[in-house]
Symmetry: C2
Subunit: 218 residues, 2 copies
DNA sequence: TTTCGTATAATTGTATACGATTATACACGT
DNA sequence: ACGTGTATAATCGTATACAATTATACGAAA
């Protein structure tokens, strides 16, 4: 999340390698040599090392001491698991958000929904990209509203993981419209201070997302 | 988890700083200067830098680019939140473990329980330490048995966090005995292939732990 | 006195150099 | 031919050197 705007070389290298893994450029079990990557990106080994170690903590890379760094790869089962866990946590997040959300955050959520509807009706190449971005924003606001540093931390982590899955099976059919409708329902439940409903809806929201993926995959 | 046996300087420094934060040696918002720490531990800045960046990913340190590394600290609310999230995930873990556990893992769980009972009846300074260690082992086996790399990853992360809380309010009253009894109940539910019950028990197990903490704190 | 700007110092970011560890190749003996 | 041991090369781990950035001190002007 923060790395997006990290101007340091380490941050840039981190992004590059990450992208490379997610896009399949670096394949599973492939060895990532510090010197080679550094040379390719025109930087020294130092920022590469630091980037690799951060990627390890994110689970995208496995580092064997004194041996090397290897691409971990994410299986279909991993993706399923990610969504199962996220489903629970997003539910909990919605519950806490219901109890702690501010007027300002409510307004921002509404804004995001309105913008989502606008972009979803537009055509063009940036349509999907915009909607995905707004989807991310919607959830980020909820994370913030939960008022829990911890929950926000772990959900942001998963959000990163989830990007992998998104790249693959993204917004087919009328999933976009349905997703927005679900966002609206969640927002309404939060407005009504109905924590139970908000939790359930957020739960199902993620569940539907993964279900949609299954259809694509199968 | 792995860092425990990482013989590299980076791993050692990581441990040292981590311990320093958890024990309150480094206080909240305190600046962690690379050179100072390196000098204190008799190493250069390089491993210190890498350790600090790993600690950032764990949430114990905040790094502001070109400024410095600062101790994040964990509030009482954070601890509460950690246990709330862990409670859910341990429940999910127990459910999946019920579906995937092997005979070997079942046997190991039983071993751990027997050993726990043995040490809990002993007196001495290492009593608590041993029991805590075995508690960790019990849960680690469950994480493994869940057969989910993802769940294991996130739960291990939280386990690290949870250590903070343990240092403070640990095993008062008869919590040790009750905890072991709960472990036994979870194991039995898994043996019976009763995923619902296993999930519920694991859930409550964490809930009881945090409840016990509250009593201590209040 | 306050405020601003500049010079200086301190600290982080990156590059490079060197030592330690591991992988590879090849010769040797069986 | 096969396995083993040693020498060589490749790679990682750490230390050090230098550049970039940020903090601090101090003085001049309002």
């Amino acid at each position: 999340m923060r790395e997006q705007q990290d101007p340091s070389l380490r941050g840039q290298v981190f992004q590059k390698i990450r992208e490379g893994i997610l896009k399949g450029q670096y394949k599973e079990h492939e060895e990532l040599r510090e010197a080679a990557i550094g040379e390719e990106l025109g930087v020294s080994r130092t920022p590469v090392r630091e980037a690799l170690r951060q990627l390890e903590l994110e689970g995208l890379v496995e580092i064997i001491p004194n041996k090397g760094a290897y691409v971990t790869g994410i299986s279909d089962k991993d993706v399923q698991d990610i969504y199962a866990v996220r489903s629970m946590l997003e539910g909990l997040c919605a519950r806490w958000a219901t109890e702690n959300i501010t007027e300002r955050q409510l307004a921002r959520l509404e804004e995001v929904i309105i913008l989502s509807e606008f972009y979803s009706q537009k055509l063009g190449t940036d349509r999907e990209e915009q909607v995905v971005l707004l989807d991310g924003t919607f959830h980020e606001i909820l994370y913030e509203a939960s008022n829990s540093r911890i929950l926000r931390h772990v959900l942001s982590d998963f959000h990163k993981y989830a990007q992998v899955a998104r790249k693959n099976s993204l917004h087919k059919n009328d999933r976009v419209e349905k997703s927005i409708a679900e966002h609206k329902a969640i927002l309404q439940a939060i407005r009504d201070h109905d924590a139970d409903l908000a939790e359930q809806l957020a739960n199902e929201h993620i569940f539907h997302a993964v279900k949609n993926m299954n259809i694509d995959a199968g």
